[in-house]
Symmetry: C3
Subunit: 254 residues, 3 copies
């Protein structure tokens, strides 16, 4: 069985950076299966990276290694992390990228991967994706025990992941991500039949799916991770209502 | 031989949706070779998806499985389809995505893939790419006979694919796709030497290839699928002449 | 060991062109590992393609085949090239795409791949990525000796790669590439401690990495290829200072 390495970065696809990481991995672990998870995380946006990672992990096989690089602190004293969380493996900067996954799955081991013999020699300190994280991922899927990368740690950095809270008539929370279709993924629970979501000037009645209402109509659906999603059938809820990450959302449950 | 699964969606690459579909496939069929065909189909644009699929299939090996998800009716009563067309396999919503391929290749079998034991359990009804189509594709390339997915059908949904028609002095048709270079791919036949294409204010003399005319000059070439393509050497015909899908094109053959 | 084929093109990802090249390769050489290096080279920009290729090759394993298609002269008399340079293999139009790599690594063999039995039959002359370069790459990694593709040549086309030059107080050169983060990659050497780079109205003191200065501050770092890179911590140097390819950069070394 070829190990799966899933890559998440904020490198975008306009440069050669993601391809170069893959070249490094294949030089060390040629039998790996590489999967692009997402590379369009907004530059340096650790929270967005953490949310994408959390939304995706459950769909991947046991032992998948997630190589995640959203790393505004590259080259500083922040640690490089190898971690086992739930049934998966992670290699990433220790800056909170794992926070949302750790809110749902147990930490089963973490190491500060500071032994330079598992890094590549490098002219600078700006591309740890290539020089630190890619080789660590490759060595790990190639069979090296992560305890060899450096000392165990118990305190990976956590950043707060916004959570919805119950209010008198339902829930209050916020938009976490806006997707390509203009759907606003929120942190509120799935909308029960008869409930209505409110965000800015928008009123979104609960519906089962986009095609259940007329084109152009707003609706609140149970999104792909089981949470409330605000949409416009055949359109962009984000554009029509000005929704963005952080927009407050209320769900009225009758 | 590892089976090839080629993915075509309107999911774009800014979200984790495509990566998540791949995670599901690898969990069921780890020995597959995954290929991205195109993910930038305009949201919900079934015709564009059908045209891209048709332009691509001939380049892929026998038995390739095309997993195509442009699915504005996700979660409604529209069927999920597993189909054999020509030497390939297809898994897609039954909304016309196969129409252009079916105009050129024989339908050799189709099934309404409604047996939930081949789907994933799902919290909602908005991400059949992950919960229905990806697992069906994976089971099929893993060896499951598609007749187990559900009952055979003979009437996949067809949408009209625009065709050119002969006129007194040549052909009249339209622009089907505009590519990254601003070339306008049409449904007219290849331009014979000495012919001239007309579209809006543009006049495009037949030429063998872009570099055969001076930079900035318009030309009509035989495009990659053997049909008329309108171009500007070293420039964008779409931008210079305002060409877009549906723009009428006439080809004058002397 | 599965051979690695790394693809670099100016095809973008909005069309099916890259996917189609992969389909052709897998039809001939099913056991290959395909890697996307970069597909967003500006249309027809051979110099940009050459620079990306040069920045990436060192990270890839020995025997990797780079399939590079930035080809404004497609279908004209320009040659199709199969070449061994350093420990790698290249298949590409003979238009200078290899120039930057050849400035650093020895040419170990090159062939004008003109034997049509290694090309695909094609309706037109506009998509040699699919009809010429992809099959050549596939035959080569599948074991065909490149000397069978056509006659050996010794004079691949070279284009000038801009080089920095020493001046009285340091170096003068230019911006080569601007990346997604707005970092300006230059052709100047790494900035020693205490040095300062100047570009347009920007003053960039040498620093070790982005996080070593306050957010919003400009800095000059040793970039990933060991050369001077102009940045703004947590921001875009290109946007703030209007840097673009060709912008003159001076490095003052005290």
């Amino acid at each position: 069985m070829r190990p799966v390495v899933a890559l998440l970065t904020d490198f975008g696809l306009h440069d050669h950076y993601v391809g170069v990481m893959k070249g490094v991995i294949l030089g060390i672990a040629p039998r790996v299966t590489l999967v692009d998870l997402v590379h369009e995380v907004p530059p340096g946006d650790v929270l967005a990276g953490a949310l994408h990672l959390d939304a995706a992990v459950d769909s991947f096989p046991t032992e998948t290694l997630f190589l995640a690089v959203v790393d505004p602190g590259v080259g500083t004293a922040r640690r490089a992390l190898a971690a086992r969380v739930g049934p998966w493996r992670f290699v990433l900067p220790d800056n909170g990228l794992l926070s949302a996954v750790l809110d749902r799955h147990p930490l089963r081991g973490a190491w500060s991967a500071e032994d330079p013999s598992f890094h590549l020699p490098s002219p600078g300190r700006t591309f740890h994706g290539r020089d630190v994280f890619a080789p660590l991922a490759a060595w790990w899927v190639d069979g090296t025990d992560p305890s060899r990368f450096g000392p165990p740690i118990r305190d990976p950095v956590r950043i707060p992941i916004p959570r919805a809270r119950p209010v008198s008539d339902g829930w209050e929370g916020e938009v976490l991500l806006v997707d390509r279709f203009g759907n606003a993924v929120t942190n509120l629970p799935a909308p029960p039949p008869g409930s209505t979501a409110h965000a800015l000037a928008g009123v979104f009645p609960a519906a089962s799916t986009y095609g259940a209402v007329a084109p152009g109509e707003p609706l609140a659906v149970t999104g792909s991770t089981g949470r409330l999603e605000l949409s416009v059938s055949g359109g962009s809820a984000a554009r029509v209502y000005g929704l963005a990450r952080g927009t407050t959302v209320r769900l009225e449950v009758p």
